[in-house]
Symmetry: C2
Subunit: 327 residues, 2 copies
């Protein structure tokens, strides 16, 4: 049994707990939190909730620590720190800072002879894999990533900061015409506005000026000005009923040419549709925890990403069974 | 430069030649054939066409031999034989015989300290990868593979063997209602008839009985009796104009449940649409030839499948560049 710890128990941490409970080769040993441990209600009975201050004393009781903190401030510190004690997995998703994070985690993991995997999830993660496979196979082509339909936390926050807004959710939605163009294999040039549109559901403070709020949203630089944005004003009851979900999704599509003068076109599309973004991300993290143990067992140490992992390492099954059942 | 040889020059072999020409880190050294070498017209000028009888003398001039023979009789003999001389890649696709082929090739490759990759292509190959990734991430789920729209060579041959048939093409087509059910995440039980339908385009010999031919097709056991089959009788001109292509495609879809009592459903879909089945398969073979060299350089020997290959090995780019550009 692979002994799993969870550090951080928000939506992602709880998702990891559910995913570990689906894995017959793993057991959840403890959940670590910065909050008062007794204030946390976890799902699995009999598993201790422990203060993060005591985590070092669990060094020999846990194989893989799954880090469920945020990319902005938690993971840049936690991942290298925890890699001194455990094999670790994180879902670091600040694309521009991945090289820097990789270097810090790699140094820490090598010093302690541990395996660390960073940026595991769906983007970065499964989408990165699909960009890699498709571009290696069809070098004369172009890939496109579409996100949604799903909630963008950053854009929802930006709307909530506008005076007069009580609550808000922002959905990123791929533009259907853009998808069709890309699927046709024509490798179009698409502007930001042509690829995605944005839809906001806003609850106003009483007495707020709806027209002013709408204008503040659709003209907001970086966040909305470059997109076609629709704003819906709704009441709190409708907000609670229809906009509390965490659904998300997206697509990676690549079209490439082969043959005589590139006369033949091939289109490869990878698409996901998720009822719960954190639970799916958690399921990816847990599969890669298994891969971390496989690396550790073969004596590999240091930092890895999904691009480095032989797919078979994600499965409980032997190479022989996989070849028979899946190949 | 990775020095590539091609053994067998049909549609697949020519596709490999085009794909090697797209790869800036590879050069085509020679094409080997069982036919009279001077009878072969290849695409790349300056590359020799050589009799297969002389292949052993190219042992030190070629790194990876890409085997473009058929799975029925060529590859079971050629792949272990060639693995004595070169790193090899094949597209062996007789699913039931993969374990046996793997064992024979593995023994040969280990004895000569070579790398061999078998069953590379899209199914087996990329579809196998997608079944593996999706099932490891969503263990409580079910996957579905759909093929087409595309030509089935075996079914076309079966129709051509019917008395009175001059020429025939058979298309395998996924049933749209089945796709929609699977995409809904309901994990339906689907019969053979519910998943795919078959469409035949037939040119009759003069004087043949169309009704008898149609009946012989739609009632043919194993091939057609379990499917809804449509038969179109056309003339030779239309056959040549509209049914000489090699387009194909397919989808792997998995839906799985996570969270409290499995209340959340996630659907992952991988889909390909190919203008030329052999050219796309060839492009996959060539990307895996690069991976074979990476294994060889790190001292790994023996037989591998796509399930064993770290995705980064398919790319010319360094890990650092891949993390920056694709992750």
């Amino acid at each position: 049994m692979i002994r799993i710890g969870i550090l951080g128990y928000g939506n992602l941490g709880r998702g990891v707990e559910y995913a570990v409970n689906q894995a017959s080769d793993m057991e959840l040993v403890a959940v670590f939190t910065r909050r008062a441990p007794e204030s946390l209600q976890i799902v699995t009975s009999g598993v201790p909730v422990v203060s993060v201050n005591e985590i070092a004393s669990w060094k020999d009781k846990i194989d893989v620590m799954i880090l469920c903190g945020g990319s902005a401030t938690d993971l840049p510190i936690q991942t290298p720190e925890m890699a001194k004690l455990f094999h670790v997995i994180d879902s670091f998703d600040t694309h521009a800072k991945i090289p820097e994070h990789f270097a810090a985690v790699d140094a820490a993991a090598k010093a302690s002879s541990k395996v660390a995997m960073i940026s595991v999830g769906w983007d970065p993660g499964l989408f990165s894999l699909n960009r890699l496979y498709a571009s290696a196979i069809l070098p004369e082509g172009k890939d496109y990533t579409f996100w949604g339909k799903g909630v963008s936390q950053g854009h929802s926050d930006a709307v909530r900061r506008i005076p007069g807004v009580k609550n808000a959710k922002q959905y990123t939605i791929p533009v259907e015409e853009a998808l069709e163009k890309v699927r046709s294999g024509s490798n179009p040039e698409l502007s930001t506005r042509e690829k995605h549109r944005r839809e906001c559901f806003v609850v106003l403070e009483s007495g707020a000026d709806a027209a002013a709020v709408e204008k503040a949203i659709v003209t907001m630089p970086n966040y909305f000005a470059d997109y076609d944005t629709t704003v819906h004003f709704i009441d709190e009851a409708e907000f609670a009923k229809n906009h509390s979900g965490m659904a998300h999704g997206g697509k990676v599509i690549r079209a490439g040419k082969t043959g005589e003068n590139g006369k033949n076109t091939h289109v490869v599309e990878y698409s996901i549709k998720l009822d719960s973004n954190p639970e799916f991300t958690a399921s990816v993290l847990v599969a890669y925890a298994r891969a971390a143990m496989r690396f550790a067992e073969e004596g590999t140490v240091g930092c890895k990403t999904v691009l480095d992992v032989p797919p078979a390492y994600l499965s409980q099954k032997s190479g022989e069974v996989l070849r028979k059942e899946l190949l």
